[in-house]
């Protein structure tokens, strides 16, 4: 089963990369852009076809490794 995990910084955490990128975009002439935040995506495959189990496993992966829950939150999507 294919899945995608999206990890983003908690809104309370300031995001230096996002800020720098926003600055660059502005200096490239994209004045209208704001609130740029950078995050990560992980595409992965899990064996078996038990959707519920897959979801549970992937949540566990996020808690254990993929996300640093001190500063990040995550979302799991399982591809149809």
């Amino acid at each position: 089963m294919k899945a995608r995990v999206t990890v983003t910084l908690k809104t309370s955490v300031l995001d230096p990369q996002g800020k720098a990128i926003e600055g660059s975009l502005k200096s490239l002439g994209f004045d209208g852009v704001s609130n740029v935040r950078q995050g990560k995506v992980f595409d992965l495959e899990v064996a078996g076809d038990d959707r519920a189990k897959a979801e549970a496993d992937i949540k566990a992966m996020c808690e254990k490794l993929l996300a640093n829950t001190v500063i990040e939150s995550y979302r799991v999507e399982i591809a149809g």
């Binding site: 309370s12 230096p16 990369q17 720098a20 490794l65 640093n68 001190v70």
Partner: protein
């Protein structure tokens, strides 16, 4: 002093750390593979060295923090044993929960290697009894992710308990504009609640010899040797 330097895949300052430990104590440190599940018997001090464990992939220190040996390190810390994390070692300590907070990308987004003054915020710990309160030392930083951050409550607790070990400062000891990475309150290193775990971004281990940039880092290792003696 019996010191164990943990070797993770991608660690690259383990020799530098071992050299500083030997310089201070006269004893060879043992290099311990990350796959081990226990520390050499009689280990006084555990050092998590600088480097790019697992290539800094995912998050700096994240993968190393989940390797087998870290359970042994955690147990050592719970017994009150001394643990020193330098640079990537500091990142591993926060990722493993042994120290609070997180280390984000430098605010200027570039790796920075340069000489840096530090203010010794608290002398008299097992790591700093070789220094005096407020002493300004000069060592180097060399990192891309040293931007320390913690939520407000945590930060208040750390500051309140006097658990900030070192702050970035200028030659006169002024804290403020001197941070090379944007870390909150110019924090360069912090202690655990019991002051037996220290994590810091700068590299004292490279400053033990007048020929190579000075000896301002030697005090930290001398302190450890004394504490462990």
């Amino acid at each position: 002093m019996k010191a164990s330097v943990i070797l993770f895949p991608g660690s690259n300052r383990e020799r530098d750390a071992a050299r500083a430990l030997k310089h201070a104590s006269g004893q060879d440190a043992s290099i311990v593979w990350h796959g081990e599940t226990s520390l050499p018997a009689g280990t006084d001090v555990v050092v998590l060295p600088g480097g790019f464990s697992y290539g800094d992939y995912l998050r700096c220190g994240a993968i190393a923090a989940r390797s087998p040996v870290m359970d042994a390190v955690r147990a050592h810390a719970e017994r009150g044993g001394l643990v020193l994390g330098i640079c990537n070692g500091f990142q591993i300590l926060v990722e493993s929960g042994l120290l609070p907070g997180a280390l984000l990308r430098n605010n200027h987004l570039k790796f920075v290697c340069r000489m840096q003054h530090l203010k010794v915020e608290r002398a008299g710990t097992p790591f700093t009894n070789g220094y005096t309160d407020g002493q300004v030392i000069e060592v180097a930083v060399a990192h891309g992710d040293g931007n320390y951050l913690a939520d407000v409550e945590t930060l208040e607790r750390i500051e309140g308990d006097g658990r900030v070990a070192f702050r970035y400062c200028d030659a006169e000891g002024n804290v403020g504009q001197a941070s090379p990475n944007g870390s909150v309150n110019c924090i360069a290193g912090i202690y655990s609640e019991r002051f037996n775990v220290l994590g810091l971004m700068p590299h004292p281990e490279n400053f033990i010899d007048p020929l190579v940039g000075g000896t301002d880092g030697a005090g930290l290792f001398a302190s450890l040797a004394k504490a462990a003696a």
